[in-house]
Symmetry: C2
Subunit: 242 residues, 2 copies
């Protein structure tokens, strides 16, 4: 059984302002919830249609029916479980290694996929513009497939952040150096731009190394790659070694 107040609270967490007002967010699905439980995230309460997650004490979980799950889920086809977690305290930005900077990524699926990619390639830090979608958005949490527990995400004014960094700054453009022929360092900042507009003009001025992912084939008509697939190719190139 889920009370009306609980339903009201949980559905409100689909909106950013209520997530930050309550310092809570939620995840759905066994795999994502398990990853968060195994990490440093503090469980507020777990709702499940099955008697699973034996490691969670009984006062922290409720067995509910599918109808109740539907009322609290953000998914069109709800999973078997939903867990509300406390938002962790914001950590400071890690200043070494490869850092991915996101300039106004708007699509939750793209942010989640990029977090999963960073996790795969051992990148610990993502720095987002304040306009980038919130990473506690349920659709982002869903798309990260647990990587949210392992990648540090901060939101800040990118112009100030990039002006103070000592690391080399990379960005991809149509007219940059062929990424396959570039020498890529093990430390640096990689800026990925907005889905529709790419890297903003203000930030473009701060890019020291302009890279291009070359197009192949005779037609050359594809205008651009999706930002998540472009990130995949770029992180692969930075990581593969020469």
């Amino acid at each position: 059984m889920v009370s009306k107040n609980q339903i009201k609270l949980i559905t409100s967490l689909q909106q950013k302002k209520y997530r930050y007002a309550n310092k809570l967010f939620f995840a759905e699905g066994v795999k994502g919830i398990q990853e968060l439980l195994d990490s440093n995230f503090e469980l507020e309460h777990l709702y499940s249609t099955q008697n699973d997650f034996p490691e969670v004490s009984n006062n922290k979980k409720s067995i509910i029916d599918e109808n109740d799950l539907k009322k609290i889920s953000a998914l069109a086809t709800p999973n078997t479980c939903l867990a509300v977690f406390k938002m962790p305290l914001e950590k400071s930005i890690i200043a070494t290694g490869l850092i991915v900077v996101l300039d106004s990524i708007r699509d939750p699926g793209n942010l989640g996929t990029i977090m999963r990619l960073c996790d795969w390639f051992g990148i610990q830090q993502i720095v987002c513009s304040n306009e980038t979608v919130d990473y506690f958005n349920p659709k982002v949490v869903q798309a990260t497939m647990g990587s949210i527990a392992r990648v540090n995400v901060n939101y800040t004014d990118l112009n100030s952040y990039l002006q103070q960094t000592q690391l080399p700054i990379f960005g991809t453009f149509m007219n940059g150096e062929n990424i396959y022929k570039s020498i890529l360092p093990q430390q640096g900042i990689i800026i990925m731009g907005n889905e529709a507009n790419g890297i903003s003009e203000t930030l473009e001025k701060l890019v020291q190394n302009r890279l291009t992912i070359p197009r192949f084939g005779s037609l050359q008509k594809t205008e651009s790659l999706n930002v998540a697939t472009a990130t995949a190719i770029i992180l692969s190139e930075f990581s593969r070694g020469n």
Copy 2:
């Protein structure tokens, strides 16, 4: 003005059986429609809230209001235009170059993104299992961003197809050869597996070259990459040259 019969027909095209019964599909948005018009696709009828697309004759287009567009659109937030096209005749499978084989890709966004990637990397042929999502699905058409006009897609029984090919067959697995250290040919078949289950056991037996995209970082807990981002990395490696 859109008639009731037109609304009924167009909304029915969201379902595969009606697309194939009517030999019609639709695209939404100026960019996607323009790409299809510029290619060999035959327009059935264009519906737009604006008097655009001057190259389309008046008997092939209707200016409609936003309310009518909403009735025929498959999008939560409709664009300004929707165009119904005739399905092209199926072309035979191109048997040279790099060929991407999809084993039961279910997510329309993933298929659309993979088509866009193939277009970027100059890959002309995708061969799908019969269980793979239909590429005329409106969500696929949307995600291809026009690449649907330039990549040949066929559906077939993959087991028979792979048994008769002369090309080397590649697939990615957790325990394959490091893709960054492998010699990759300019011709061959690359199998990408289902989102949840990977490459099916039947097809796995036909793979001659088992590849792995290595994970980096100390944690190594990410279980897998999204199939579209994995495809991005693999196609980049096959295309980049050594």
